[in-house]
Chain length 416, copies 2
């Protein structure tokens, strides 16, 4: 990180070519092309578009089956059916949690995502096993990406004995944030669920990231309970709500709900789902709410979707929002890059206007990826596989060649 | 087509391996693997999944910019803004209509789509120029795919002089069907618009394919006007409605609208759009309505989306419907393959049940593609690039190697 890096002839967000000088992991200078030779690493941009690194801020590294043979969805329908289906099958995976998490991280980084927030399930069945796998993967790739881990009570906190103690142990073992899930629908006792979540956060002085699939008025109610606790405990800027499906309801109360999220500096992450899961991105940007996007479950017992490519997910985010203009498609890309980064790192400015294209000011973190394309919108539409990825000012992947891993499918082919 | 073709060790819809014998362009026999050597062409399936060929039944070959440098969306918002933006810019394309249509057809076929229904815009500005380009492309690839062409009055029929005469000329020049568009919203005179469309169809004894973006109650009203004419003219089984957005409204009248579509054998095509464009696929299948899907505009002045890969569009169809189970994902794939084929060829049975996986009975047309995957659902999720494509009983593409064309992006790279 002490070394300097010179990126020549790169086009930030598709603008005119410049040279970008990186020192100590930060942008040190942006100048017209034709910089004199200097010591340190040199990357020939060759006119490629350079973008802030992608961020995957809602990922389940513990359940991913990316690269493994596809398994059919055999569980009962609904959230609970999937939870139990996972519980029945996860131990029979062909590779360990750590191996699967490592593979998926490698794919994510090779595709340009260097900022990750992953959930790790903590429950009475699996204890801390899944967390330990994710911790091992984070350790394995400490040099190529930053990984935050949420201790995630997938099966609720109150339904099975010992979960609060397990969550406590998870936070002591290295998890960075306290998770929660659907306080009304899973535990069916939102007050006790949220009190447990916020209690753990207070005790460990960490942030919170709550899965909230609850729809419509129910989800809006749970959001109010979350706000009450943020305000009482002065936890503004420390809470993330994942999915926040209620905001996709179109209900008359949504604008006020967005204002309160902004006031309490609650960030949002989601998986860019369709059919009633589309967050009102433009309203959220106007209100200054930090929003990021992620892969969520990938080919696991939750979802057959996902491929480890956050540029693909940026496409999906634009698509589900019906974005067609370059300005809108670029905003989706800004969410999938800087937006997610600003969820993890609250010192980064939020995307509070539609035309913000940050990442290349002096002092910005040198987290980038380069892609050969006409424009950012074209890059989103084409999703070219070849990318150069820069993390903390160092090149960590060139053309999917991260530490011998290739793009998904290798294990699948072998395993057929 | 007279030659025989033996496909060995292939898995129809992911089932156990079989050998498929093709004669005269039709399935002649399906038997256990280990067929004796015989004369004719032999394709080693090597355990690959074999599926009915993909069908792209809603495509605009005249406007595609697939493979060309991306152009920003610069027009005014809305349908009319896009129409005028296209009118302003289409002549400045780097390649002719015919060249662009040929390239896009090649990409479609290499990806496994051998049944195509394309629109060709007919209007006062472009006359028959666009149709002629699409006709030339069809002629160029007559051996590798079947292309139906709709004479499409994109700018309305009544707003500009001479359009009915141009439509008439288009049908004499080789267009197969009469198009129409948003009779209320574009021409603002649904009766005269539809009377012109049905009049042309009667005169030329051809079918109809009407773009209907009109939403909610308005679109349902227009559907009623269409039904009145089908019933009066006895045109059951001859009409397609494209998009049919009103069916995605969730209005109480939708189930009755679906029943009437079934009764009048109206087929539907759409582009698998999100955010209010999702057709109720499962209800339509239960009612026996034929549904197909297509790429629509591709990187043109209508849409930056689209990549010429109908397996990708099958993924999109599953995704926008929130399909997660194998049964549902496979249904989306059935719609994108056999479903579309059954829109074009009314002699093929409709997908009137969710678990129908047709295409491999003796006598079925030998239109297939092979893909290396664990299952049909895995193929949809992975969209492997390498495919073997069979049209009318002959291999027409292997691993995107159709007549020297490669997957999209070549022209784009050159043009940067």
């Amino acid at each position: 990180m002490g070394d300097s890096l010179l990126l020549t002839d790169v086009r930030p967000w598709g603008a005119d070519p410049v040279d970008v000088l990186v020192e100590n992991g930060l942008v040190a200078a942006v100048s017209s092309t034709g910089s004199p030779d200097r010591a340190g690493t040199h990357v020939e941009g060759a006119g490629r578009v350079i973008l802030p690194a992608l961020s995957d801020v809602h990922l389940h590294l513990d359940s991913t089956r990316l690269g493994l043979p596809f398994r059919a969805q055999t569980g009962e329908p609904g959230r609970w059916g999937r939870i139990m289906n996972d519980r029945e099958h996860w131990r029979s995976a062909e590779r360990s949690v750590a191996e699967r998490a490592v593979f998926t991280l490698a794919v994510a980084v090779a595709n340009g995502a260097t900022r990750i927030r992953s959930h790790a399930q903590v429950d009475a069945d699996s204890g801390l096993t899944k967390l330990e796998g994710v911790l091992a993967a984070r350790e394995r790739y400490a040099e190529v990406c930053d990984v935050e881990i949420v201790a995630f009570p997938q099966v609720g906190i109150l339904l099975e004995p010992g979960v609060v103690d397990l969550m406590d142990a998870a936070l002591r073992a290295g998890a960075d944030l306290v998770g929660g899930i659907d306080p009304c629908e899973i535990d069916r006792d939102p007050v006790r669920h949220l009190d447990a979540v916020f209690g753990l956060a207070e005790r460990h002085q960490v942030g919170i990231d709550i899965h909230l699939h609850e729809a419509g008025e129910l989800g809006l109610f749970t959001l109010e309970l979350i706000h009450e606790r943020i305000e009482a405990l002065d936890m503004r800027g420390l809470v993330t709500v994942s999915h926040a499906r209620a905001l996709a309801s179109g209900l008359p109360a949504v604008p006020a709900a967005i204002e309160r999220l902004a006031a309490n500096e609650v960030a949002l992450t989601h998986a860019a789902g369709a059919k009633g899961w589309e967050l009102p991105l433009l309203d959220l940007a106007a209100a200054g709410v930090r929003v990021g996007v992620g892969m969520d479950g990938q080919r696991d017992y939750w979802s057959p979707y996902g491929n480890g490519d956050m540029l693909d997910r940026a496409w999906q985010l634009a698509f589900v929002n019906g974005f067609g203009s370059d300005q809108h498609v670029e905003h989706a890309l800004a969410v999938a890059t800087w937006g997610g980064a600003s969820v993890i790192d609250r010192s980064l400015a939020p995307l509070d206007a539609l035309d913000l294209r940050p990442g290349f000011a002096v002092g910005d973190p040198a987290e980038f990826f380069l892609v050969d394309s006409v424009s950012p919108t074209a890059a989103v539409m084409d999703r070219p596989a070849e990318r150069t990825v820069i993390h903390r000012g160092a090149v960590v992947s060139v053309d999917t060649a991260l530490d011998g891993f290739e793009i998904p499918g290798r294990w699948g082919r072998e395993g057929n």
